[in-house]
Structures are given as structure tokens and as C-alpha cells.
């Protein structure tokens, strides 16, 4: 009897989970579908779901009109560069907070996180001025720095929680074994924290990739990444849904594929330490 209830429960849960999953994924699915329609079909009423004339025309037009590879390359550099530099800065920071905490460590961590609560637009003006002054507007260097700084609190927090899981005695053993601080971090701490560091890198790469506020505001043509590429297809005078969808699909495809292949690692990293 109880078993029957369990099976029904399972069925309901499964249906519910799939329902929510599809609901969340639907906009992306719709975007992808729309990218294969003609502009007329894209705005058809009632909307066409699967039965329309599939076409690659939009992709051809988008590719023709703008240099996708340049945007892609900028995205890779900005997301990759900011994540890499961020991790290099965050590892020693997280090390000190996890293994030689002071009375104020918790406060510093919270303070760092609190910077994420400030609306980004609040500092747009000063940062814009600094960028003009330093000649960083529309440069990849400038964006790497800004996005690295924006994500640094999250990187430090994530690494801190992973490092906390590593027994301090092992690092002390390394110290007794004659390792300098640098050697201790490179040969002992980092390899032990590889799963944690990998998921931190992954998550922050995705965050940096998707970051739109700063990339849109601080770039024009030279350093514009894929977010700007999408935005360039949404214009106030006359929307081209199909082309916008094609551009969006092209922009999210790389990160979608990356996320798909690394989801196991991501889930593992995010639940690291939750279950021993």
C-alpha cells in the first residue's frame, strides 16, 4: 500500500520536475526555434511551434552582417582573462582567510560580498570616468580588470569554502617538510582543491561570459563581446526577431555547450562539503 503511494508520489514529482525544467528552458528553446524561422513566421499569430519552413537564412545574414568570430574571441578573452586573474588573486586571499583567520575575517568576507549588493549602475559614472582618464574605454584590458573585480568576491567566497574543507594539519605538515608559503600553496593546497577550483573557474567563466551591464556600457566596437553582439540586433526601430534569435543562439551556444559538458563538475563543486 505504502509502496503504491510512493510510486504515485514519484510520478507526480517527476512530472513536476520536468514541467518546471521545461518552463525554465522554454525561452531558450523558443529563441532557438525562432532563429530557424523567416521574419514573417517569427511574428506569426498564432505562434508556430515546429511546423514552419526551417531555414538557415538568418544565420547567413547575421554572419554576413557582423563578424561573429571577433565578438566570440573578445568574449573568450574577457571571460577567460578575468576568471584566471581573479583565481590567481583569490587563492592566496582565500588561503589566508581559511587557514590564518583573524577576528575580522568573517567581517571582511561579508564586506566583500556586500559589494555585490550595490547596484552596478551606482558606480557606472565613476568607473566610466576612470576608463576615459586611463584610456581603457573599449579595450579588452579594461573589461578584464572590471569584470575580474566584479566577480572577485564570489571567487574568494567559493575558494574559501573549499579551502575550509582541507585539514590544516596537511598544510602544517608541508611547512614542517620545508615548503615555503608559495610551495605550500602550489604543491599542496591547489592540487588538493582542484575540484573546488575547477568549479569556481567554471562558474565565474559563465558569469563573466553572461555579464552584460559593463560590457555594453564600456565597449563600442573593438572590445565588444557576444553580449554586445546580441544587443546590436535589438534596435528600437523595427525588430527582427528571427535575426535577433539567430544572433542570441550563436552567442549562447558556446557557454551552453560548456555548461552541458561540465554540469557534473559544476554540481559536484557547488555541493562540495555539503555531504561528506
Amino acid at each position: 500500500m505504502s509502496r503504491a503511494v510512493t510510486t504515485r508520489r514519484k510520478t507526480i514529482n517527476t512530472v513536476l520536475a520536468w514541467g518546471i525544467g521545461i518552463l525554465i528552458f522554454f525561452p531558450i528553446l523558443w529563441t532557438i526555434l525562432t532563429s530557424f524561422k523567416t521574419e514573417a513566421q517569427a511574428i506569426n499569430d498564432p505562434p508556430l511551434f515546429l511546423f514552419f519552413d526551417w531555414t538557415l537564412e538568418n544565420y547567413a545574414v547575421v554572419q554576413e552582417r557582423s563578424d561573429y568570430m571577433r565578438f566570440l574571441w573578445n568574449s573568450v578573452i574577457i571571460a577567460g582573462g578575468s576568471t584566471l586573474i581573479g583565481v590567481i588573486i583569490a587563492i592566496p586571499a582565500a588561503w589566508s582567510m581559511a587557514f590564518v583567520p583573524s577576528k575580522r575575517t568573517k567581517d571582511i568576507l561579508l564586506w566583500m560580498l556586500s559589494t555585490k549588493m550595490l547596484p552596478a549602475v551606482g558606480v557606472l559614472y565613476p568607473i566610466y570616468l576612470i576608463f576615459i582618464e586611463l584610456g581603457l574605454l573599449d579595450t579588452r584590458t579594461g573589461l578584464v580588470v572590471v569584470i575580474m573585480l566584479i566577480n572577485l568576491p564570489i571567487i574568494v567566497w567559493m575558494l574559501y569554502t573549499y579551502f575550509k574543507e582541507i585539514p590544516g594539519e596537511i598544510l602544517e605538515a608541508a611547512r614542517m617538510d620545508g615548503a615555503s608559503l608559495r610551495e605550500e600553496i602550489i604543491y599542496v593546497l591547489t592540487p588538493m582543491a582542484v575540484p573546488g577550483i575547477a568549479s569556481t573557474i567554471l562558474l565565474n567563466f559563465i558569469l563573466a561570459w553572461n555579464e552584460a551591464f559593463w560590457t555594453l556600457n564600456l565597449t563600442a566596437a573593438q572590445a565588444a563581446p557576444l553580449t554586445a553582439f546580441i544587443a546590436s540586433y535589438s534596435s528600437p526601430e523595427g525588430l527582427f526577431y528571427a535575426k535577433l534569435s539567430a544572433a542570441s543562439t550563436m552567442a549562447i551556444a558556446p557557454i551552453l555547450i560548456l555548461g552541458w559538458f561540465s554540469q557534473k563538475q559544476l554540481v559536484r563543486g557547488l555541493t562540495f562539503g555539503a555531504v561528506k
Partner: protein, 334 residues
């Protein structure tokens, strides 16, 4: 060489003084055991010597050189941790080689020393395994191997056997003792287990609340404990204590006598009592006797088998010359 001198060493955590001013000399080649109940500061003292904790004041000298502010890596000491603290991502070989790699030794020398250590510690078959694939005893050997390859001036052991099961502990205890006999290097060993202290040490340092209660050879501590704390801590089962009239007869505030220094008879003796629990181990019999006069249970150790059971009446007589007398402040009366 490895002569270690602690000179008025103190350690405070915030406002809590864990180690009040403490002086101690550990001679070269000596096997010194720090023993005491948990929280007595023995591990802190070891970590101060290792350099893993900073001194609050005082000096530590190793072979005449002041190392008080020298980082752990530069003190020439090797440490074996309670949790073994092996590097989980490295093979046994790499674990043992790690300190040599840090010392920038050439590969041939590293290989030579690692295979020597593996030989000594019977680790040859496991060199390419990861620590996670080893048993507790094997991990402990790897930890010791990592310590000996450095040829340190002293070894520090922080409760190295407490994660092992009883049988393995006895075996490892012997191995460490044999290692000491062979290497003749100074060893400092921290434990809360007085049996380990008694069996392994040349010199035992009994600690309580950061204070040294007594320093001496195992038998000195056993035969002439300086105070009631040491008397009760050293020896197993624990020493019996009596206060009041019985003690006054001996001109003391309290008298102590070890379970093995009591005569037992079914017919006559100084104190009459009832057997509470009888533990028959074959080689010995431990009787927990409730004295007729009231007061605490007296433990008696009888050699071999002794057929007494719960509720039997027995008579106990302490061996006169083995009675320890203590004053009201707990100190031994000579």
C-alpha cells in the same frame, strides 16, 4: 645532534595563558614523552617547539641556536601528526620524497633515501599507491617515512597512535621504539596514554594545565611521584588514595598505594572489604573492593588467577614500604 632547550617559554591565546613560564631541557638522543590529560597543553608545547605556534615570550634553542622566531621549515625538525597529514594527491613515494624535493636535493639522492626509508618501514610494496588506499598502520608508517628521510635533528610525534586500533598501537609502539634505538635521534612524543609514556620514554614530562608537574624516568615517576597528580596519573590501574584517620596513622594528609602493592587474604588483614567487581584477565586479576569503613573503592591487582567473586569478603594489607604519603597541598612527604 638535537639538544632542545626551552627557556621561560609561555603561550597565551588571547587572555588565556595556556603555557605559564616553562623551562625544560631535552638532551640529544633522548626519547622524551609529554604526557598529561587532554587540554594540559602538551600538544601546544610540541607545536611551539615545531614552530607551528608563535611563542608569547621566552626562547627555544636547538643545539645552542635560538630558533624562537625561525619558521618551522628551518628548524630541522620533522613531525608526525595524529591524523598522519599525508598529501592525499601524491603517491606514497612522492609523499616521502616531498621534504627532499623541498630541500632541492638531486633526484638520485632522493631516490636513494626514499628506498632506504621504504626498506626500513616495510613500505616497498605500497610506494605507488595513494594514501587513501592504505590502512591506518601503513599510513602511519608513511608519515614516519616522510619524517625520517629528512634526517632531522629531532622528531616530534603528536599522538601518532591514537587513531589506530589497540593491537596495531602496540605494534607501532614497538616499531617507533626500535626506530629510536637505531637512529638515536632525539624524539619528543606527545600522548595522553600513560602506558605509551611508560613503555617508550627515557624521560617523561608530566603536564597539567601547562605546568610541568614532574620530569623523570618512567620508574622514578612510578616509584617517587612528586605529588598526588603524578601519582594518580602514572600507573595502571590507578593508585588508590585514602585520607582521614588511615592517613593520619602514617602522619600524612593522604596516603597512596598502588593496586599491585596490596596483599590480599580471605582470612585476615588490615582492611576488611567486599568485592564489587572482579576482572579476571588470566595473567592478573583486578578486584574492586568496597572497604567496610566506607570511602572510595580500592583496586587490587593480584598476580595470576584469584577466585573471588562479587560479594566475597576479603582482607587487604598494603605493603608498608610502598606507601606514598602526601601533604594537604598534594606534595609528596619524603
Amino acid at each position: 645532534m638535537g639538544r632542545i632547550v626551552l627557556d621561560k617559554v609561555t603561550k597565551r591565546f588571547g587572555s588565556v595563558e595556556v603555557i605559564p613560564p616553562l623551562d625544560l631541557t631535552i638532551e640529544d638522543g633522548e626519547f622524551t614523552v609529554f604526557v598529561g590529560p587532554s587540554g594540559c597543553g602538551k600538544s601546544t608545547l610540541l607545536r611551539l617547539i615545531a614552530g607551528l605556534e608563535d611563542l608569547s615570550s621566552g626562547h627555544i634553542e636547538i643545539d645552542g641556536a635560538d630558533v624562537s622566531t625561525v619558521p618551522p621549515a628551518k628548524r630541522g625538525l620533522a613531525m608526525v601528526f595524529q591524523s598522519y597529514a599525508l598529501y592525499p594527491h601524491m603517491s606514497v613515494r612522492k609523499n616521502i620524497a616531498f621534504p627532499l624535493r623541498m630541500a632541492k636535493l638531486d633526484q638520485a639522492e632522493i631516490d636513494r633515501r626514499v628506498s632506504n626509508a621504504a626498506q626500513v618501514l616495510n613500505l616497498n610494496d605500497y610506494l605507488d599507491r595513494r594514501p587513501g588506499q592504505l590502512s591506518g598502520g601503513q599510513r602511519q608508517r608513511v608519515a614516519i617515512g616522510r619524517a625520517i628521510v629528512r634526517e632531522p635533528s629531532a622528531f616530534l610525534f603528536d599522538e601518532p597512535l591514537s587513531n589506530l586500533d589497540a593491537a596495531l598501537r602496540v605494534g607501532m609502539r614497538l616499531e617507533i621504539s626500535e626506530l629510536h634505538k637505531r637512529l638515536k635521534t632525539t624524539m619528543i612524543y606527545v600522548t595522553h596514554d600513560q602506558v605509551e609514556a611508560m613503555t617508550m620514554a627515557d624521560k617523561i614530562v608530566v603536564l597539567r594545565a601547562g605546568n610541568i608537574e614532574q620530569v623523570g624516568s618512567p620508574l622514578e615517576l612510578y616509584n617517587r611521584p612528586r605529588n598526588r597528580f603524578v601519582a594518580g596519573f602514572i600507573g595502571s590501574p590507578k593508585m588508590n588514595f585514602l585520607e582521614g584517620a588511615e592517613a593520619a596513622k602514617h602522619g600524612a594528609h593522604a596516603i597512596g598505594f598502588r593496586p599491585e602493592h596490596l596483599g590480599i587474604s580471605l582470612t585476615e588483614g588490615e582492611w576488611k572489604g567486599t568485592v564489587g567487581v572482579a576482572e579476571h584477565l588470566g595473567s592478573d586479576t583486578f578486584l574492586h573492593v568496597h572497604p567496610e569503613s566506607g570511602g572510595e573503592t580500592i583496586t587490587v591487582r593480584v598476580d595470576g588467577e584469584f577466585s573471588a567473586r562479587h560479594g566475597d569478603i576479603v582482607y587487604l594489607t598494603p605493603v608498608a614500604e610502598k606507601i606514598h604519603r602526601f601533604a594537604a597541598d598534594g606534595l609528596r612527604i619524603q
